[in-house]
């Protein structure tokens, strides 16, 4: 697509640090975290990408560096093009990224969600609270080391807890889902199994 190739080149004229990013569909660019707001602003004001449709993050697993990537999908309501902008968080332990709320008011909730799920701090965000989990929840569920079943956690309302004794417990994973491992097939390793082993409410989860 000639029209979209131009955007990266045009961007590179102004921001030489922008590099193209591997992608299977849309045009995509890698941007250093410090410039991400400037690049997004240029995209919005000079290239007609006026709508932020999605903002999310990817966790590349513990031990990988850079570990967290924030991904923006920007769309144009006039020429109907998409572009993907990705920025790696500099710090793997305390990931942070400048906020895009100043550019798009709609970024507010997306950033709160990314904070809630991955623990990425958006510097300058007006109201960075959890949005999907409750405020006191101590974990970041979409990080790769967090188990699908969850981790035992007290519930937020003390009076309800006192009455019912309920707490957030790890969900029983007996019976599935059975999945193969990600990546290249290696039949011995990739043999499908329930990710959290076979355990139920009666039988304790085996210690790893």
């Amino acid at each position: 697509m000639p029209a979209t190739v131009a955007v990266t080149t045009l961007l590179q004229e102004k921001f030489p640090q922008v590099t193209p990013r591997a992608s299977l569909d849309l045009e995509a660019v890698n941007v250093p975290p410090a410039d991400v707001i400037a690049v997004l602003k240029a995209l919005r004001d000079d290239h007609g990408f006026d709508m932020l449709v999605d903002l999310t993050a990817i966790d590349w697993a513990e031990g990988v560096s850079p570990r967290f990537t924030v991904v923006y999908h920007v769309f144009s309501t006039t020429h109907h093009g998409y572009i993907r902008v990705a920025a790696n968080c500099a710090n793997d332990e305390l990931p942070a990224m400048p906020t895009a709320v100043g550019l798009w008011a709609g970024a507010n909730w997306h950033e709160r969600e990314a904070y809630d799920m991955f623990g990425i701090k958006f510097d300058g965000h007006p109201d960075l609270r959890r949005i999907l989990m409750w405020d006191e929840y101590p974990h970041f569920p979409l990080r790769k080391e967090f188990p699908l079943a969850g981790i035992e956690t007290p519930l937020p309302d003390p009076d309800v807890v006192a009455e019912t004794g309920a707490k957030a417990i790890a969900a029983p994973m007996m019976g599935g889902p059975f999945v193969a491992a990600t990546g290249e097939i290696n039949l011995t390793e990739a043999e499908p199994r329930a990710k959290d082993e076979s355990w139920s409410e009666v039988r304790e989860k085996p210690k790893a």
């Binding site: 299977l24 449709v53 109201d127 989990m133 999945v179 499908p192």
Partner: protein
């Protein structure tokens, strides 16, 4: 956040100036008849006027994205039903197309046509429910009863096609669960024939209804600029006068072959959003008729995608090659290349996007769901301020959201 408080009119302003009032905080939801699910609004009121509105989400956060990382692409299809559970067929289609983009797979024309057909039927059923619920919010119970009767007819058709009333799980990566049954398209046509007059009757109960107009005209107006800044999509964006419809502007699944109009509003208030939805149902009927008129023959799944779509059952039981193929597919999932794709489809609620990050293999590394309701609701803190509490109810009804996809 832009939440400056402005009085709706001069009378309210002077009334407030006369009596010093203390701000009151009101929590609406998570179980409230007009929040359509489990949305909670934490509001601050001055008398009856909302001065601050803070939506609290997450009461239906079920962890869909984490679940997706733990299962194969096909296993996740049933979860897409339960995102926007008013239009599961449209979600199925959006998800399947996103993953097919990852696999660089083109499905045959018949498959595309069936998907368009079902997605448009889903659009009608979703808008009908939205209309019925909006009717209840503004005090019209009959609309709900009428629209549900029509929905039941649609459900009957869905059930015949997929085996379930609304948790359909109809799409597969590279195809569909099954072909349409004999004579089914004729019954869809018959439904359309009897539906149009009833739709006029349903809309006629609201469109010029004095009570309904008093509660919606001029209420919750969203400007074009705001709608774009908050990432609104679907009828809510078009209600504000932005002629953006991905079916027209980024055609997928063969939408470019069909003729239809994209209705837009002028003022962006609740009433405009209602009008847009009403017209969209008529246009959907138009699309359905065109699809059926030129319903393509041929295969209904990608026959050459051996590593992605399961072979026919009869072959699995008789031929070794197909048995192995099926075994690999079920155990390891459809094999995908590594890479990233993002695809948005025009769903009844707006643009439903899937961002798939793959490292190869049959399981996604990360699957982000861009939920239209989530973005549509993010404008609430801005649009509710300055309105009466009862107007908030009508604004919520007109934004027509689903918490299932909002919280995921």
């Amino acid at each position: 956040m832009a939440t400056e408080f402005s009085f709706p009119d001069a009378a309210a302003k002077s009334a407030t100036a006369e009596f010093e009032t203390e701000k009151m905080s009101l929590s609406m939801g998570p179980s409230h008849p007009s929040t359509h699910g489990v949305l909670r609004l934490q509001m601050e009121l001055d008398g009856e006027v909302v001065t601050k509105c803070d939506p609290v989400l997450g009461y239906l956060h079920r962890g869909d994205e984490k679940i997706a990382e733990n299962m194969t692409y096909n296993q996740f299809v049933p979860y897409t039903d339960r995102l926007d559970y008013l239009a599961p067929l449209a979600n199925n289609m959006a998800y399947a197309i996103a993953v097919e983009k990852l696999a660089k797979l083109e499905v045959p024309a018949r498959c595309q046509a069936i998907r368009v057909l079902t997605a448009e039927m889903a659009r009608i059923s979703a808008h009908l429910l939205g209309l019925g619920a909006f009717g209840i919010d503004t005090g019209a119970w009959t609309v709900f009863m009428y629209s549900f009767t029509e929905r039941e007819k649609l459900y009957k058709l869905f059930e015949e096609l997929t085996g379930a009333r609304f948790t359909t799980s109809y799409s597969r990566i590279g195809g569909l669960q099954r072909d349409v049954p004999e004579g089914w398209t004729g019954r869809v046509n018959a439904f359309c024939d009897q539906f149009l007059p009833i739709l006029e009757e349903i809309l006629g109960m609201l469109t010029r209804n004095k009570i309904f107009m008093d509660r919606t005209v001029g209420v919750g107006a969203i400007s074009k600029a705001d709608a774009i800044a908050y990432g609104l999509t679907g009828p809510n964006l078009r209600g504000s006068g932005v002629p953006l419809d991905l079916r027209k502007d980024k055609p997928y699944s063969g939408y470019d072959q069909y003729e239809f109009d994209v209705p837009i509003g002028t003022k962006g208030d609740s009433y405009d959003r209602y009008l847009v939805r009403g017209e969209e149902m008529r246009q959907s009927v138009r699309i359905i008729r065109q699809v059926i008129a030129k319903f393509p023959c041929g295969p209904w799944y990608a026959t050459d995608a051996k590593k992605i779509f399961a072979p026919p059952k009869a072959k699995i039981l008789t031929s070794m090659e197909e048995l192995i193929q099926n075994f690999m597919l079920v155990t390891e999932g459809p094999q995908m290349p590594a890479g990233e794709v993002y695809f948005e489809a025009e769903n009844p609620k707006g643009a439903l996007g899937f961002f798939v990050v793959s490292k190869g293999g049959g399981v996604p590394w990360r699957l982000k769901i861009r939920a239209p309701s989530f973005c549509n609701l993010s404008i609430l803190p801005k649009v509710c301020v300055g309105n009466m509490v009862s107007d908030v109810v009508s604004i919520l009804g007109s934004l027509d959201f689903v918490m299932g996809e909002c919280d995921r």
